[in-house]
């Protein structure tokens, strides 16, 4: 059986009330969803809560998934992305109050971002050198605007096709390509500044 067929059969069984099929779905996709949430939201705790939310919502709305149309992954990723955007809006409102909100505009030149990445308590070199590269990249990723962040996460971390990403984000394919390019470039500039400070 092909992957899509397996998934569709699982979904059908699940809608029919088969709890084993539901567990199979959770087993299959929890890691993927968790990774999207972790890379987007930044913290492991948030990622765990958000992943759980995704699956709760999915459990409630599974019958709305069109088995005939297929594309389960796109359906699931869309649900995840929408929850993440909601979460971002909520936390953004929280952050506005303590003037930490600085989600940059989509314009690639508007990015006073590397300043934000600096920890006030430590000199930049000590801060960067004390951590793994992966952590630094992960933190820099959090400084991208949500539009750019979600685009590069889906493309470069989840290996999604840009056409599927366009379906998830509900924007034209050209816009997806452009956001991915800009997200990558902005991340590189951020990291260059951070590592230049170290050298």
């Amino acid at each position: 059986m092909e992957d899509a067929q397996i998934v569709n059969s699982l979904v059908r069984r699940c809608i029919a009330g088969d709890a084993v099929a539901w567990e199979e779905i959770v087993q299959r996709y929890n890691r993927r969803i968790y990774n999207i949430c972790y890379r987007f939201a930044g913290s492991a705790d948030d990622a765990q809560d958000l992943t759980q939310e995704v699956f709760i919502k999915m459990y409630r709305t599974l019958s709305s998934y069109d088995v005939e149309r297929g594309a389960f992954m796109t359906w699931l990723t869309t649900m995840t992305r929408n929850l993440l955007v909601d979460h971002f809006r909520k936390t953004k409102q929280d952050r506005v109050t303590d003037s930490m909100d600085a989600a940059p505009s989509e314009h690639e030149d508007a990015m006073p971002l590397s300043e934000q990445i600096e920890d006030k308590r430590l000199p930049p070199d000590a801060r960067v050198q004390s951590r793994e590269t992966g952590e630094v990249v992960h933190e820099a990723l959090q400084k991208l605007s949500p539009e750019l962040r979600e685009a590069v996460i889906l493309r470069d971390l989840q290996d999604m096709d840009y056409r599927d990403i366009a379906a998830v984000l509900k924007v034209p394919e050209g816009t997806v390509k452009s956001r991915i390019n800009r997200g990558r470039a902005e991340l590189a500039r951020l990291l260059q500044r951070i590592y230049r400070q170290v050298m």
């Binding site: 709890a19 084993v20 539901w22 567990e23 959770v26 087993q27 929890n30 890691r31 968790y34 990774n35 972790y38 890379r39 492991a44 765990q48 992943t51 759980q52 699956f55 709760i56 459990y59 590269t133 992966g134 990249v137 992960h138 820099a140 990723l141 590069v152 470069d156 971390l157 840009y162 050209g174 390509k177 452009s178 991915i180 390019n181 997200g183 990558r184 470039a185 902005e186 991340l187 590189a188 500039r189 990291l191 260059q192």
Partner: protein, 251 residues
């Protein structure tokens, strides 16, 4: 600058091709013109380098493991049931057998009881109680063949006491739970696979044919149930008592 042309390619065309270029989707001719533009254009060259570097940084991020308790938390929050299968990664691809499910259910339900029962103090008194019971049974007409090496001399009794007690303690630990669990098992069996019920009936038939009354082979059989047959109850590392007990009552 978008109108600027180098090597027959305008900057805006370069930008359009940038994504596909990194995906290696350009034709050879396109690739050639693209590279040539990047070499000479003061805007597009650095932009290409940045986008490429950013892609490399992103690709360097490894996938992280989801937390170990995540699946169970999700299942508890949705179905209200914890995992049907063992959480070992090896188990990920096969469906949980009825036995596994019952064992997990029993483990989680009786974990506190096991803790108490396994304390030496309690285990000893259970053992004593069971020994008295078995003596009473033999007095009440249990066939002598049932207790193979029956040695009723005082020292013999003491020896039999210690050797059997060690075994019986374990058996007795299970008796209580067996009866509590049996009813639950019947319920679960009703709602699970009928083919397993058939197997169970066959096993019961075989069980009746075997009249040797020797508890040891039965104990072996209980262990052998692990793979694909229902396990009526299992405390951690303990054999089951059910067939031993029924044998003694049958005869």
């Amino acid at each position: 600058m978008p109108g600027e042309t180098h090597n027959g390619m305008q900057c805006n065309e370069f930008e359009t091709l940038l994504f596909d270029a990194l995906d290696q989707k350009l034709s050879e001719g396109q690739q050639e013109r693209f590279r040539a533009h990047a070499r000479v254009c003061g805007k597009c060259g650095p932009m290409f380098a940045e986008v490429e570097a950013g892609q490399h940084w992103l690709k360097s991020l490894a996938e992280v493991e989801s937390p170990a308790n995540l699946v169970n938390e999700i299942l508890a929050a949705t179905t209200g049931i914890q995992s049907y299968r063992l959480q070992a990664p090896a188990a990920a691809e096969h469906r949980a057998s009825l036995g596994e499910r019952i064992r997990e259910w029993a483990d989680s339900l009786f974990a506190p009881v096991w803790g108490t029962v396994r304390q030496p103090r309690f285990a000893m008194s259970f053992g004593m109680a069971f020994f008295s019971l078995s003596v009473a049974l033999s007095v009440a007409g249990v066939k002598p063949t049932d207790i193979k090496s029956a040695d009723l001399s005082r020292s013999g009794l003491r020896r039999t006491y210690y050797t059997t007690t060690a075994r019986m303690v374990k058996y007795y630990e299970n008796i209580r739970l067996v009866y509590e669990i049996e009813s639950k098992v019947q319920e679960i069996k009703k709602v699970t696979r009928p083919d397993e019920r058939k197997q169970e009936k066959e096993r019961e038939r075989n069980h009746k044919n075997n009249t040797s009354g020797d508890p040891e082979p039965r104990q072996e059989r209980n262990y052998s149930r692990d793979e694909n047959q229902p396990v009526l109850a299992s405390g951690p590392q303990n054999p089951l008592a059910v067939s031993v007990i029924t044998t003694r009552r049958d005869v």
